[in-house]
């Protein structure tokens, strides 16, 4: 959680927390694990009513934010969702909505009304089977045809693909990257649900076989403008992953500290043993530093300054330390910490997925070094 929220942002944050605590306590999160769709559509609509899908959409397109730094507003929700391991296609829907709002054509932008109201979900088909594409080198190809393109390729780990109404597909075209907004019932498009470490969010494989589209499916102009869009999408995605993990790590630390006060061994609480106190001190530092890294990344994105660098700093730090913190908290719990009934593994599962998708901490360290010139 940030320490510099405005009154409006603080109210927004508090509302999000109360909504999560009453509507999706962890017992509900567990029930939803059995839902193929991940979360009930009507719940998503009530989340949207709180503004969760409108922040990056400008007012003239039906959206609206809490402050003049919508990216920061968005990270507030991600942090709270991380605390609650709250399901829902929050990340891809907002990332794709942002690009449609910035680069989409008027027809595409009419879709945003349904996104803002929570009726439509969006997915970003970008990851491919061979992993990371920080270099924007995608095997999925868009070949120009008469009046349009044929798209072929395979995308994996696409969050919410099976629930979304539209997919944003990132592909390589002759003159650089191109992105297409496709209804999920487009001919030639096959969506197959995948299994995931994260039991709350839904992922799928997207197969594109000779998908024929007109140029009106293009979002933005191929080449440099689209590359800039893709970078921004990735930056926002990583910011949200990091905010999610920082919120989750803070929450896990809170309940583990409580446990250390309540659990007695040799006639005294665990919290009285210096060996453990020192490990808790390290964890508190990791949690605060993770939040600080998220603050810095969100500020950089909001200001449009050194975004990619600060995003890589955040992923490099938060990716590693949030997950490390959770493993330490498992250790502090003893045997109960490695059971299915305890919530710890739910946090670890989600945080581990956030850590690994869109670049591991090592990928981002290498990226950071390269950005700085070596």
């Amino acid at each position: 959680m940030r320490y510099d929220l405005t009154d409006d942002q603080e109210f927004f944050r508090e509302t999000a927390r109360r909504f999560i605590e009453t509507e999706v306590p962890i017992s509900t999160v567990r029930e939803w694990h059995d839902l193929a769709e991940g979360c009930p559509q009507n719940w998503w609509r009530s989340a949207a009513e709180l503004g969760w899908t409108s922040l990056l959409v400008p007012e003239n397109l039906g959206g609206g934010s809490i402050s003049d730094r919508p990216i920061v507003d968005l990270s507030i929700v991600a942090d709270e969702m991380g605390r609650g391991i709250t399901p829902g296609p929050f990340m891809p829907t907002n990332v794709v909505a942002d690009t449609i709002a910035r680069s989409g054509n008027p027809a595409q932008q009419t879709l945003l009304e349904e996104v803002v109201s929570g009726q439509a979900m969006l997915a970003w088909a970008v990851n491919e089977p061979d992993g990371l594409h920080l270099d924007n080198n995608f095997a999925t190809h868009a070949t120009p045809t008469n009046g349009g393109y044929t798209i072929a390729g395979t995308k994996v780990a696409v969050e919410a693909a099976a629930q979304a109404h539209h997919l944003l597909v990132t592909a390589t075209a002759p003159n650089g990257l191109a992105q297409f907004l496709l209804p999920t019932n487009t001919v030639g498009l096959t969506i197959t649900p995948q299994e995931s470490l994260d039991l709350g969010r839904r992922f799928a494989q997207v197969q594109l076989e000779g998908v024929q589209v007109g140029t009106d499916a293009l979002v933005g102009s191929p080449g440099a403008p689209t590359e800039a869009d893709v970078c921004r999408q990735r930056n926002i995605m990583v910011l949200l992953q990091c905010a999610d993990n920082a919120g989750a790590a803070s929450k896990v630390l809170e309940f583990t500290v409580e446990y250390a006060f309540d659990r007695y061994s040799f006639g005294r609480p665990l919290a009285s043993y210096q060996a453990l106190k020192h490990r808790f001190a390290d964890m508190k530092m990791w949690a605060e530093a993770s939040c600080a890294a998220v603050d810095g990344a969100a500020d950089a994105l909001a200001a449009g300054q050194a975004e990619a660098q600060m995003i890589s700093v955040a992923k490099s730090y938060v990716g590693d330390y949030s997950v490390e913190l959770m493993h330490e908290c498992v250790q502090m719990h003893g045997g109960i910490g490695v059971t299915y009934d305890h919530d710890l593994h739910l946090y670890l599962r989600r945080a581990t997925v956030n850590r690994g998708l869109f670049g591991t901490p090592s990928d981002h360290r290498a990226q950071l070094s390269q950005m700085l010139g070596y």
């Binding site: 320490y3 510099d4 500290v257 250390a260 006060f261 005294r268 609480p269 919290a271 009285s272 210096q274 106190k277 020192h278 808790f280 001190a281 390290d282 508190k284 530092m285 605060e288 530093a289 939040c291 600080a292 890294a293 603050d295 810095g296 600060m310 890589s312 700093v313 490099s316 730090y317 090592s362 981002h364 360290r365 290498a366 990226q367 950071l368 070094s369 390269q370 700085l372 010139g373 070596y374």
Partner: protein
């Protein structure tokens, strides 16, 4: 009083700041010596040269109005905001700065004088060190122990208008070339340890003080030990109240954590010791004389850059958190702990990036300093209060966990068991 009472945190107009940045940049380009990235420290310099170079640079900053800008105007500062100081820090990255003045003089001693000093003490001492005339040092740690600062054994006995000091202080950094010290001594032995201490201002070079340098593991002799033999200190040199020195010491530790952690608004330039801590410097070197596997090197540099940036962000966050009441005052320990761990990482990565040159080098080459520094690595986790003490503070005063057992708290100090 809190740390934030003393300086200005409001965000000035961005345009004004941009102009200020330009002013500082122009002035630095014309007036401050450039740091050589391949040889950023001054290996051949002796203590004397180091002291005069720092004093001279501080004077230059002062004369141009860029010294200690967060200090109040009436004591020689500029009454500017923390944002202004941060700009100076950023811009000064490529230049030689009077780092010796940053800590403890400007970032620890100064705030204590501002907070507890009499008007006369403030007028007399503060403008002098901002101008580069005096360097200060802390006489806190003793041979009997540093973590348990309140267990100090150095005695100060009242005699008319003066105190007579006997005992010894140790690990005082650069005392041999400094001018004044802030010293904690025991004025009352009949009361529990925290209630019988007093803080004094002590001119260093005078009869009654014998200074010995101590050779450190890295071969330098920055450390000093002082012996006091019936040293006379006038009563007007008491800072705060007699027997209330622990109140002052607590604030001193607070400022020390902020300074060591990089959260102090009073340091000038990035807190860097003699040796290169700058990633840019390392990067220049790594590119020029690459050692080992490129992928591995990128990982190490990326990790270091990450830690350094998160360090700064954490320090900003903690300052904001304390100010907004989200975090208690002792949260400075989070930054102190982070700093120690970054220092360890930095020393380790440096050595690896320099490869065997850091282990065996041509006669006179300074690159061996990186190996030597690795040997001295833990200093970052000891000086300014150890990382164990920081962890105690975080767990007890931020997380509220039970305090460590202390048997000496309520005992009159003369009945407390000592080192065997």
């Amino acid at each position: 009083m809190t740390m934030t009472d003393q300086f200005i945190y409001t965000e000035p107009d961005p345009l004004e700041l941009a102009e200020y940045r330009e002013q500082v940049q122009t002035w630095m380009n014309e007036n401050m010596p450039k740091r050589d990235p391949l040889n950023p420290w001054h290996p051949s310099e002796d203590d004397n040269e180091r002291s005069s170079r720092n004093r001279e640079l501080q004077r230059r900053l002062h004369d141009a109005g860029f010294a200690a800008v967060c200090y109040p105007k009436e004591y020689g500062g500029q009454s500017l905001t923390v944002a202004h100081q941060r700009i100076i820090d950023d811009v000064s990255e490529g230049f030689d700065m009077p780092i010796l003045f940053s800590a403890p003089t400007l970032s620890i001693i100064g705030p204590i004088l501002l907070e507890f000093g009499t008007e006369e003490q403030k007028q007399r001492y503060i403008p002098r060190f901002i101008r580069g005339d005096d360097l200060w040092v802390q006489f806190m740690s003793e041979p009997s122990g540093g973590s348990d600062l309140a267990g100090a054994l150095t005695r100060a006995d009242k005699d008319g208008d003066s105190f007579v000091i006997n005992g010894s202080k140790i690990w005082s950094t650069f005392a041999q070339r400094s001018d004044f010290a802030l010293m904690l001594a025991r004025t009352n032995w009949e009361v529990p340890k925290h209630r019988g201490l007093t803080m004094f201002i002590v001119p260093i070079h005078q009869p009654g003080i014998e200074i010995h340098t101590i050779k450190m593991a890295d071969g330098t002799d920055e450390f000093c030990q002082e012996y006091f033999n019936d040293l006379l200190v006038p009563a007007e040199n008491v800072v705060g109240k007699v027997d209330d020195g622990w109140t002052v010491a607590t604030r001193l530790l607070f400022h020390e954590r902020a300074a060591v952690g990089g959260a102090s608004p009073y340091t000038q330039g990035k807190m860097r010791q003699r040796r290169a801590d700058s990633l840019e410097d390392l990067a220049v070197l790594a590119a020029k004389e690459p050692v080992g596997d490129a992928g591995n090197r990128r990982q190490q540099l990326g990790r270091l850059e990450t830690l350094n940036r998160v360090h700064r962000l954490l320090s900003d966050r903690v300052v904001r958190g304390i100010k907004g009441g989200h975090l208690p005052g002792p949260a400075g320990s989070l930054v102190r702990l982070f700093h120690g761990l970054v220092g360890v990482e930095q020393a380790s990565v440096n050595m690896d990036l320099y490869g065997q040159q850091a282990l065996v080098w041509d006669e006179g080459a300074s690159v061996g300093d990186h190996g030597v520094r690795f040997v001295q690595r833990q200093a970052a986790c000891i000086g300014g209060g150890t990382t164990e003490m920081a962890r105690n503070i975080i767990s007890e005063r931020i997380l509220g966990m039970p305090r460590e057992l202390a048997t000496d708290k309520e005992l009159p100090f003369n009945q407390v068991p000592r080192n065997g």
